[in-house]
């Protein structure tokens, strides 16, 4: 019997139910009493906070019996059709509890932050309803015990993402950004669906535990079938986690409120792809080719997005591309079968990127407030309009620097350990194929760029003279305590977060590694986990630190915030800088190569030819025309003259007589 049975762990369903109830209550309040801010805040923040307390309690129980097998709690049967039997079941294991803790923990902090950030918004109740619904779906995603249940959460968070990106939907641009995110994700979801069909075809089940058990015997390593499954699953991951070629929706997703960007588009939802690869590690381990694809795409995305981040002026756009880049790192990790390292970076990234986004939210809040006071319509998110904010926003300034150092990989902050472990695990695979050295090199260059663009962001935002405007400067002030407290908590987590998985030469090293061992053990065993000699490990560590310091030093010495002018007076970029500023024109390329041809085909072939021409013209109007013609012929017989009828009548009689006497 499972030692977790009968303990608090049995209440795992409550984890999802709490935020869902919060959604129902706040969703109702949004209609009947949208101004009841006290109740809305209590329900919105409270439901997630209680869920976090519950998750922590369950985690405590699991710590007590670390060897317990996964607890699968079947709630009710869902689909039962011949061979296909799917239950709505939740799987509580070492991986899902870590994810649940991150989601509810970081989620609670962001909910608290939101209460202040969104305080003046008329859609306050709607906002918290969406946010609670998101947390509920995200928990379904990580706690689901089978692919279909996970998929419900997967689509649910996509829906919430759509709703929150387009939260200020009266601006057509925001609505379009939401739509773009939704549509790009559909491409990935199609891959995910086909992967599920293939898994069911080959293994006859969709439960994670059964799939992990059956796959090693049903497939040989490198089989076409399992490779196809892994690649299609990764297509889904690339959509959800914004990897090349489907990353384009994430930067646009910044149209949503900033806490949403922190929660959904940095800390939790976009990491669902990494989680999925870790969850299905056996399938990926059986497909070495797919693993290489995952790592190469991850490395390519990490480097590519980092270069774009170098030249963005919108503070949130920099962070968005940074997120895309960091997600690339996570995929390098899980692609190199270092699942624990990937999840480790997921966790630390959730801390420091949520902190960075909330910090940028605090900055935007201050900027927006200042511009609002003076009725200035300048861009509150453009770094060229900021500068010198450190004296106005000291807490935000300090916490964001901590996160910047962490993401750059300065020891002993959390990002250093997680990023280094990923790069080391890619390097360790080097003897198995040169591609891994390339992956490692790309990751290392991306690390240099990361340190550079993050320092650039800090320099332009907080250092140098202020460029907001003379009238506005007086109105710049630090955000309220409800916003700075989450920043401080996240900063603490950013500092100490690395402790959960220290490198092996340190005391109590690799805790997360050992904790996740039961989940990823099967995949690691198939794929193998090459060990690096201790000297190489130290060498890589030293190199990582050198790269991080080099990146920061480069930015610090080369960039002169004093020389910057406000956005309205800035000259146009030229040369390669312009290419980077325009994001390699990938959006325009997609527009010309995919969107427009697709629209053309849809409009001219599918709509005007097939729908309007064949179906409407031939099918609908054609049958109507046929009926009308036959009817018209019939009416010609109806002359109204008795003579005609008699003639027809006689002809009929003669015909019948002729037929009878023949």
């Amino acid at each position: 019997m499972n030692p977790l049975q009968g303990t608090l762990a049995d209440k795992v369903g409550l984890l999802i139910l709490l935020p869902f109830l919060g959604f129902l209550v706040n969703g109702t309040l949004a209609f009947v009493r949208p101004r009841a801010k006290g109740v809305i805040t209590a329900v919105g923040v409270g439901s997630v906070a209680i869920a976090f307390a519950l998750a922590a309690g369950i985690f405590g129980k699991m710590l007590g019996s670390p060897d317990a097998p996964p607890l699968v709690k079947t709630l009710w049967p869902w689909i039962s059709a011949d061979l296909l039997r799917i239950d709505v079941a939740l799987q509580l294991d070492h991986l899902s509890i870590i994810m649940a803790l991150v989601i509810t923990g970081v989620g609670s902090l962001i909910h608290v932050f939101s209460a202040a950030y969104m305080g003046e918004d008329p859609g306050y109740a709607r906002y918290f309803a969406y946010l609670n619904l998101f947390v509920a779906f995200m928990l379904v995603l990580v706690l689901g015990a089978s692919f279909p249940v996970l998929f419900v959460g997967w689509e649910g968070v996509g829906l919430c993402s759509y709703l929150l990106i387009g939260f200020w939907f009266t601006d057509a641009q925001n609505a379009a950004a939401g739509l773009k995110a939704f549509l790009v994700n559909r491409i990935g979801d199609a891959g995910f669906l086909v992967a599920m069909f293939l898994i069911f075809k080959h293994l006859g089940t969709l439960d994670f535990i059964a799939v992990s058990r059956l796959a090693p015997t049903a497939f040989h390593s490198g089989d076409a079938a399992v490779t196809a499954i892994a690649l299609l699953l990764f297509l889904g991951c690339a959509g959800k986690s914004a990897q090349i070629p489907l990353y384009i929706w994430l930067p646009d997703a910044m149209a949503g409120p900033t806490p949403v960007s922190a929660l959904i588009h940095a800390a939790t939802m976009v990491t669902a792809g990494v989680f999925l690869v870790a969850r299905t590690n056996v399938l990926f381990a059986l497909a070495p080719m797919a693993q290489s694809v995952v790592a190469v795409v991850g490395a390519g995305t990490a480097l590519f997005a980092a270069t774009i981040g170098l030249k963005q002026w919108d503070i949130k756009k920099v962070l968005a591309y940074s997120t895309v880049s960091q997600l690339g790192y996570m995929f390098i990790g899980v692609g190199a079968s270092a699942y624990a390292a990937g999840i480790f970076h997921l966790v630390t990234h959730a801390f420091f990127k949520a902190l960075l986004f909330l910090g940028s939210g605090s900055v935007i809040h201050a900027m927006h407030g200042a511009y609002h006071h003076t009725h200035n319509h300048a861009d509150a998110q453009d770094m060229r309009n900021m500068g010198g904010l450190k004296q106005y926003l000291p807490t935000t300034f300090a916490t964001m620097w901590i996160a910047t150092l962490a993401i750059s990989g300065i020891p002993p902050l959390s990002g250093f350990f997680s990023k280094d472990e990923i790069l080391a695990s890619a390097f360790a695979r080097g003897p198995g194929g040169t591609v891994w050295y390339v992956v490692w090199a790309m990751g290392s260059i991306a690390a240099l760029l990361t340190a550079f663009y993050m320092t650039r962001l800090m320099l332009y935002t907080f250092h140098g003279p202020n460029r907001t405007g003379d009238a506005e400067t007086a109105h710049l002030h630090e955000s309220p305590g409800m916003m700075t407290t989450p920043l401080i908590v996240l900063a603490v987590l950013t500092v100490i977060g690395g402790a959960i998985n220290l490198p092996e030469f340190m005391p109590s090293a690799g805790w997360l590694h050992r904790w996740l061992e039961p989940v990823v053990e099967a995949g690691s065993r198939i794929a193998g986990t090459p060990e690096l000699p201790r000297g190489t490990t130290f060498g890589l560590l030293a190199l990582a630190v050198a790269i991080a310091i080099a990146g920061i030093w480069l930015a610090w010495s080369r960039l002169k915030p004093a020389a910057l002018v406000p956005a309205a007076q800035s000259p146009e970029e030229v040369g390669f800088a312009r290419v980077l500023y325009e994001k390699y024109n990938i959006d325009e390329l997609y527009d010309a190569a995919i969107v427009r041809p697709l629209l053309w085909i849809s409009r001219n072939l599918l709509w005007k030819t097939v729908d309007a021409g064949i179906i409407d013209g031939g099918g609908v109007n054609g049958t109507a025309f046929l009926a009308r013609t036959v009817g018209w012929l019939g009416t010609r017989l109806q002359t109204g003259r008795v003579g005609t009828y008699v003639v027809l009548f006689v002809i009929g009689v003669l015909a019948i007589l002729g037929a009878l006497t023949r």
Binding site: T635, R641, G643
Partner: protein
């Protein structure tokens, strides 16, 4: 005995009736032609009843009864028609036109 001639006469009468209905335009003449066809049939019934029993003769009474009723109703319709339209020429009447 007289079977063959009777049937021939009956057929001729019937054909005259049909042709009359088909070709004539005057409602009363058509009406008379219909009566002619009924009586041609009656003649057939009578002729055949000599060999096949009295059933045919019973039928003749029915036909005559129906014909009488029909004459009453039909003539009434024709008179009503004439009062409304001042004509009994069926070419001028096409109320049934669809």
């Amino acid at each position: 005995m007289f079977l063959a001639p009777s049937l021939v006469i009956s057929a001729i009468l019937f054909t005259i009736g049909v042709v009359g209905v088909l070709l004539r335009r005057n409602a009363i003449v058509i009406f008379i032609c219909v009566e002619l066809m009924l009586n041609a049939v009656n003649l057939t019934f009578i002729a055949l009843s000599r060999q096949l029993g009295l059933d045919g003769q019973v039928f003749v009474f029915f036909v005559m009864t129906v014909a009488a009723a029909e004459a009453a109703v039909g003539l009434a319709i024709i008179i009503a028609l004439y009062r409304h339209r001042d004509t009994v020429n069926l070419d001028d009447i096409n109320l049934l036109r669809g």
